[in-house]
C-alpha cells in the first residue's frame, strides 16, 4: 500500500487560512517526488465548505475532522481530535503551515504520540529514498538539513512563503470528502478562550505602501529614527520597523513588519540596520526590490537583498537623503 502524506489545512472561525494552499503545494511536490499519495484534512466544527474548497485541488481525498468542541480553537481539543484521527489513519507524513496556531498545538500533539515535529521548514529533498527537510537556523545565518530519526507519522511545518500557494494544482475531478466525527471527552479542554480582537485601530496600513523605509536594531537609539524618517519623507515613502524597535516603543506597533506585524510587498523596501531575522523576512520578502544597509556583511538580510550596502547607516543614509532631494528638485 502506498504511503500517505496528509496536509492539515488551517481554518479560523470557518475561513480557510490562505497559507494552507502553500502547504498543499508542498504536499503535491513531496507526493510527486516520493510517489506517495496526498490527502488533506480540515479540523473544526462546520467545516464542510472549507473541505469542499480543498477538494477542488489535486488531492486523493479530504477529511473533515469534526466536533462541536473544536470551536473555538483550543490546543487541547485540536491535539485530541488529530491524535484520534492520525492514530486510526496512520499517514507517513503530516504537513502543516508554520502558523501561530500550529505552533500552539502541534508540539503537544506530536509529543502525545511520541513523535517529533521538524518545524519552520523552507524546503525538502528526496534523496536515496530518504526525505530531507531544510530549515533555517541561527536566525537564517545557516540552513540545516534535518531528517526524522523516529517512527512515522512524521510531522513537518512549512514557513510562510516557502512554497507558492497559487501553484497548488487543481484536481482533474473533485476529491471525495469524508466527515470523521471525533469524540472529545469532558475535561480534556482546560483553556477558555475569549473573543479574538484587534488592538485599538490599526492606524497605519503599510500593505498598500509603494516605498517603505524600515529600521532595525542598527539604528541604536530612538533619536536616530529621525535619520530614517527624513529618508522616508524624501522618498515619499512610509516608515516601518522590525519588531525590537516597536518593542522598545521607538515606533508604534502598527509600524511593525513581520510575522507578528504587517506583511508588505512595496516596489522598494529599504532595510536600514535590519539583520533579517526570519520573523522579519517573512513579512517583507515579497517586496519588488530590496535595498539593505547593514554593517555586518554576513547579515541574513543580504541573502534576499537586490542591492547590498555594507557599511555604517549613519554615514550612508544622510547623503542618500540629500541626493534624493536634489534629484527630486530637478537639479
Amino acid at each position: 500500500m502506498a504511503e500517505t502524506i496528509l496536509v492539515v489545512v488551517e481554518q479560523r472561525e470557518g475561513k480557510l487560512n490562505r497559507v494552507s494552499w502553500e502547504t498543499i503545494t508542498a504536499g503535491q511536490a513531496i507526493a510527486a517526488a516520493t510517489g506517495w499519495s496526498l490527502e488533506a484534512t480540515v479540523v473544526g466544527s462546520g467545516t464542510a465548505s472549507i473541505a469542499a474548497e480543498v477538494a477542488g485541488k489535486k488531492v486523493a481525498k479530504v477529511y473533515a475532522v469534526e466536533s462541536p468542541k473544536l470551536e473555538p480553537y483550543t490546543p487541547d481539543a485540536f491535539a485530541a481530535a488529530l491524535k484520534q484521527f492520525l492514530t486510526a489513519k496512520q499517514p507517513k507524513l503530516v504537513l502543516m503551515p508554520h502558523t501561530y496556531q500550529v505552533r500552539d498545538f502541534v508540539p503537544k500533539l506530536a509529543t502525545d504520540m511520541g513523535r517529533t515535529v521538524i518545524s519552520d521548514c523552507i524546503g525538502f529533498r528526496h534523496e536515496g529514498g530518504k526525505l530531507v527537510f531544510t530549515r533555517q537556523m541561527f536566525q537564517g545565518k545557516f540552513a540545516a538539513d534535518v531528517t526524522f530519526a523516529s517512527d512515522a507519522p512524521w510531522f513537518a511545518t512549512f514557513q510562510s512563503g516557502a512554497f507558492r500557494g497559487d501553484k497548488a494544482e487543481a484536481g482533474a475531478s473533485t476529491a471525495p470528502v469524508e466527515t470523521v466525527n471525533v469524540e472529545i471527552a469532558e475535561g480534556v479542554i482546560r483553556n477558555k478562550p475569549q473573543e479574538v480582537f484587534k488592538e485599538a485601530k490599526q492606524a497605519v496600513d503599510l500593505t498598500q505602501a509603494e516605498i517603505i523605509v524600515a529600521v532595525g536594531r542598527g539604528i541604536k537609539e530612538q533619536k536616530n529614527i529621525e535619520i530614517a524618517k527624513q529618508l522616508a519623507d524624501a522618498l515619499g515613502g512610509d516608515l516601518a520597523a522590525s519588531r525590537p524597535i516597536c518593542d522598545s516603543g521607538w515606533l508604534p506597533m502598527d509600524r511593525q513588519i513581520g510575522s507578528s506585524g504587517q506583511t508588505v510587498a512595496p516596489k522598494l523596501y529599504l532595510a536600514l540596520g535590519i539583520s533579517g531575522a526570519i520573523q522579519h523576512i517573512v513579512g517583507m520578502k515579497g517586496s519588488r526590490a530590496i535595498i539593505a544597509v547593514n554593517k555586518d556583511s554576513e547579515a541574513p538580510i543580504f541573502e534576499i537583498a537586490d542591492y547590498a550596502v555594507v557599511g555604517n547607516l549613519f554615514e550612508i543614509v544622510p547623503p542618500l537623503t540629500e541626493e534624493i532631494k536634489r534629484v527630486k528638485a530637478g537639479a
Binding site: 517529533t116 545565518k141 531528517t147 484587534k198 488592538e199 522598494l268 541573502e303 542591492y307
Partner: protein
C-alpha cells in the same frame, strides 16, 4: 506564586559564526548572550513575584559557559538557579531538552513555567509546549500579558496580523513569552553582589540520563544557505553610494 523560567544561552546577535569541521554545528569560540525572549520571560516572572510574592527559579542546560545566563538572572532578582551542565545538552532536540528539564524539576512544585517563545539558535518554538505536555499541564503560547484570576490566570495571546485573544486557564501551566511583553530591567550593583550568595544547583547529564533518549530528529548538516537572489553590492564613499543608489532607484526600480 512559584515560577520557573527556562532560559537559553545563544550566540550574540551580530557574532560572526563559523561552521565546525564536520559541518554539524557552529564553532563554539563565539560570544554568547541570553536568548532575547527568555530575558522577557524572566522579567515577567520577576514582576509577577513583585505583585503576588513567591519565588522565581531559573533553569538552563548547556556547558559551563551557560552559567553566565543564570548569574545574570540571579543578579536581576531570581531567587535560585538550576544548571543542567554538560556539553551533551547542546545537541539535544526539543523533545529531549524538555524531558531533561522535566526530570530535573520532578521534586519541585511550580505554579507557572515560562519559556521564551523560541530560541535564536535552533528556532524550534517547541520546547515549552512539549514540556507542558510531558507534565500534563495546560499551556498557552506567545503571551503578551498575564493576570491572576480566581483559580487560575488570564493571559493575552498574540495571534497573527495584529490580532489578540484573552484566554482563561487553570494553573499550573506553561506559558511561552513574547518579546516586548514588558520593559527589561538592568541588574543593580547590589543585585550583582547578592547573586554570588544565591543557590545554584548543578545537575549532571547522568542525573537526567534515564529520562533522555535518542534524538527524534537529526541535523545531518549545517551550511551557508544558497542564495536564490542575485545581489549587487554597492560600494564606494557615502557620497558615491548615494549617487549609485539614486541611479538604481531612478533607472532600474523607477521609484523616483
Amino acid at each position: 506564586m512559584k515560577i520557573l523560567v527556562c532560559m537559553k544561552q545563544v550566540p550574540q546577535k551580530d557574532a560572526p559564526l563559523k561552521l565546525n569541521e564536520s559541518g554539524t554545528w557552529i564553532r563554539e569560540d563565539v560570544s554568547y548572550e541570553v536568548n532575547e525572549p527568555d530575558a522577557y520571560a524572566l522579567e515577567e516572572a520577576l514582576r509577577q513575584r513583585e505583585k503576588h510574592k513567591g519565588e522565581v527559579v531559573v533553569i538552563t542546560s548547556g556547558p559551563a559557559r551557560a552559567q553566565q545566563v543564570l548569574r545574570e538572572a540571579l543578579a536581576k532578582g531570581a531567587d535560585r538557579a538550576i544548571h543542567l551542565e554538560d556539553d551533551k545538552f547542546v545537541g539535544l532536540d526539543a523533545y529531549n531538552t524538555a524531558k531533561a528539564f522535566a526530570a530535573a524539576i520532578k521534586d519541585e512544585q511550580f505554579d507557572l513555567i515560562f519559556t521564551g517563545l523560541q530560541s535564536d539558535d535552533y528556532g524550534y518554538a517547541q520546547t515549552g509546549v512539549i514540556l507542558a505536555e510531558l507534565l500534563g499541564w495546560p499551556h498557552a503560547t506567545i503571551i503578551m500579558q498575564i493576570e491572576r484570576t480566581e483559580g487560575g490566570i488570564r493571559v493575552k495571546r498574540e495571534l497573527e496580523a495584529g490580532y489578540f485573544q484573552f484566554v482563561d486557564m487553570p494553573t499550573p501551566a506553561v506559558l511561552t513569552i513574547q518579546s516586548g511583553i514588558n520593559k527589561l530591567r538592568y541588574a543593580t550593583l547590589i543585585g550583582i553582589k547578592q547573586a554570588k550568595n544565591k543557590p545554584l544547583k548543578k545537575v549532571s547529564f547522568a542525573d537526567v540520563q534515564g529520562a533522555v533518549g535518542e534524538n527524534l530528529q537529526k541535523i545531518e548538516k549545517l551550511y551557508i544557505p544558497q542564495k536564490t537572489k542575485k545581489t549587487e553590492h554597492i560600494e564606494g564613499s557615502p557620497g558615491e553610494i548615494a549617487k549609485k543608489l539614486v541611479d538604481k532607484m531612478r533607472n532600474e526600480l523607477r521609484v523616483l
